[in-house]
Amino acid sequence: MAKIVGAITTSHVPAIGGAIAKGLQQDPYWKPFFDGFPHVREWLAKVKPDVVVLVYNDHGLNFFLDKMPTFAIGAADAYSNADEGWGIPQIAPFKGDSELSWHLIEHLVKEDFDLVTCQEMTVDHAFTLPMALCWPDQKWPVRVVPVVVNTVQAPLPSAARCYKLGQALARAIQAWPKDERVVVMGTGGLSHQLDGERAGFINKDFDEKFMASMVDDPAWATKYSTTELVELSGTQGVELLNWMVARGTLPEKVRKEHSNYHIPISNTATGLMVLEPV
């Protein structure tokens, strides 16, 4: 049976892509952010995942408002990045695992998650950059299953619903009959707001509480409504919903293997965590 060996949660700011392309990892502005990742790569080298289930939000590449899913899941054998409009350099394509995707879909629909299934899809920076941070050579040693959460257009799924999706995803992964090692990633956040007079809003206090809750009190954020999460973390800070899904795939008790927090990259407070089931 498959085993979830841990979860990685990280920010996914588009500007990271530019910094990677320009080789700015040791530039003083970028160093505090990129320095969070060597430890993640050591951990990955140790836990040797076969598959990454990556939970993120699409920023208007694969989905538009004519067909805007609450939850979508990839069911393809390959996924490509594409032009998102600002010409950030494209990332190498990914190998999917459509058999595993359909296993997850069967399980999740049976548990009353009303998924959109995508036999063909492009993946945006929220998918590609976390992968490139984990494997800078972009020679992916894993197959991937993308899971997309609507953080773009209210009503968003509640934090509680996202946490439950993670729990169901864990049951589905654990029921996969192949003896494979799975890492779940959740990308986005932490506090940031791109739009409005409140642009530039960052809330270090909330981010610290949220990151602490990821270790000790995983359902903590479920007490907040979407509006409250926007107030606390900013209009794009709600991308932390992707972290909630990833956290839901782990048991109540976890060990924090690693974390990093830095203000700011672009307009964003960046967070990074590696959690292992105990």
Partner: protein, 117 residues
């Protein structure tokens, strides 16, 4: 409390909900088209024609003309789609942040740094 403030209770913030989505559909659809380099070029070559093709209303057309992010949000624009419009002019998120907050880019960067506490 008005219906609007009940719906949009966070100061300086417009949550992109159904009401915004209804208002901004044509504008967001145009911005979504800017994923494609050929469309970005077509917009630059004939801004009026391109906006007309997507059926922008007067408020949206004016906001696009002014490259004014607050006006674009007021007209129903969504941050993620508007980012593709901003990309045409090589604006980054800190340019956009500065414009919306009435700060210089340096001031806006300082504001972000101040969040370190």
């Amino acid at each position: 409390m008005s219906a609007t403030s009940a719906r949009q209770p966070v100061p300086g913030t417009t949550i992109f909900d159904g009401e915004q989505a209804r208002k901004g559909y044509a504008l967001n659809k145009m911005c979504y088209s800017f994923n494609d380099a050929a469309n970005r070029k077509a917009f630059v070559a004939d801004e009026d024609g391109y906006c007309a093709k997507y059926g922008l209303n007067a408020q949206q057309r004016e906001a696009i003309k002014n490259r004014n992010v607050l006006q674009l949000i007021e007209a129903g624009g969504n941050a993620y789609y508007l980012a593709k419009f901003a990309g045409i002019f090589g604006l980054d998120m800190q340019d956009i942040g500065a414009q919306q907050t009435g700060l210089t880019k340096e001031q806006f960067k300082a504001k972000l740094l101040a969040a370190r506490g």
